[in-house]
């Protein structure tokens, strides 16, 4: 980690303050005033807009293998996606990914 102690605390405080203001927004400050429907629609997609894009490069070019695509990690990611879609359950998806990863790392040595 190249971040200094001061920078890490800056991230924590800014993220904490910003997250709190997001949570307080309507409840504490804006109240019942209507937001444009388009804004509310865009907000609905924020988690699925960020997380897949964050994960994709980590899956294709894992840091642990120096950025080389890795069969065990690729299959583990696929297993997590498949089980997550099938069960709609976060914990089963993570378990499927973890079991696949450790199984493949064991088999492939």
């Amino acid at each position: 980690m190249n971040f200094t102690t001061g920078e890490i605390w800056t991230v924590i405080v800014l993220l904490g303050a910003g997250t709190y203001l997001i949570r307080l927004s309507f409840l504490g400050l804006i109240g019942d005033r209507q937001m444009p429907p388009l804004v509310m629609r865009l907000l609905r997609y924020t988690p699925v807009a960020v997380l897949p894009g964050l994960v994709a490069p980590l899956v294709l070019w894992p840091g642990a293998t120096g950025g080389e695509p890795d069969l065990a990690r690729g299959l583990a990611a696929l297993a997590a996606v498949a089980v997550g879609l099938a069960t709609r359950n976060t914990i089963w998806a993570i378990l499927a990914g973890a079991v696949t990863l450790f199984g493949m790392l064991f088999v492939l040595g």
């Binding site: 504490g28 629609r41 997380l51 994709a56 990611a77 359950n89």
Partner: protein
């Protein structure tokens, strides 16, 4: 006797939070492990839990710091992950908007996925609840979750220093994010948004760390709304 009904509603909130333990415990443990492996101190790791208290964004911030992304990109991207909570805040207004400001300010701190999901479902199921009962239920759900999150993250951090790295633990973070995102792909619009996010992020992977992701997230949100609007017209 409003006081005693509020108390029983509070206890019902505590009881209804029980299933969330299955999500909170592994998540918090994992955050403790991942944050420690990334080089955060115990105080910094707990700083995230107490001041931010939003799991997915905490993982995102740690992952981006680990990659060496610029500070403003770390903060912006993690905040984008939390923007959905503005939606939670808005949908609580009809129920809790008349509470005193200090109570609303406290609700805001505790307004995360699990408390929101449980409260929204309960308010819909029992629309005649009084304001005091609605508040009691919300705080009831939050009561076991928050200390459990802090405690398990601490346990994870203490375990994290004893687990050898390079044994595949590096992949805990991507797997966790997939586990969070995959169950959200409920509609074609969500699938399209996720697909756009992946494609644009990979195409822009050459940009300075994290910048491509921000552009990808913006594109993905527009794609999600476009597909939603299009499928409504069908």
């Amino acid at each position: 006797m409003p006081a005693s009904t509020s108390k029983s509603v509070y206890l019902r909130g505590i009881r209804d939070s029980a299933p969330f333990a299955f999500v909170i415990v592994p998540f918090a443990l994992l955050f403790g492990v991942v944050a420690t492996e990334a080089g955060l101190t115990l105080a910094q790791m707990m700083g995230f839990n107490v001041l931010v208290i939003a799991g997915a964004s905490q993982f995102a911030a740690v992952a981006l710091m680990d990659e060496g992304a610029p500070l403003w990109i770390v903060v912006t991207t993690a905040l984008v992950v939390n923007l959905r909570m503005a939606m939670y805040s808005a949908s609580l207004v009809p129920h809790l908007g008349r509470a005193p400001f200090r109570l609303r300010a406290f609700v805001a701190y505790l307004n995360f996925d699990q408390t929101y999901a449980a409260a929204a479902a309960e308010y819909e199921r029992l629309p005649d609840m009084s304001l005091a009962e609605k508040l009691a239920y919300f705080f009831g759900v939050a009561t076991p979750i928050v200390p459990l999150w802090y405690l398990m993250a601490l346990v994870g951090a203490l375990l994290g220093t004893t687990v050898p790295m390079g044994s595949g633990l590096d992949f805990a973070l991507p797997i966790t994010f997939i586990g969070i995102a995959a169950p959200m792909l409920r509609t074609p619009a969500h699938v399209a948004a996720a697909g756009a996010s992946v494609v644009v992020a990979l195409l822009l992977a050459g940009l300075p760390s994290g910048l491509g992701l921000l552009v990808a997230a913006g594109c993905a949100m527009v794609v999600g709304v476009a597909v939603e609007t299009w499928s409504e017209k069908q």
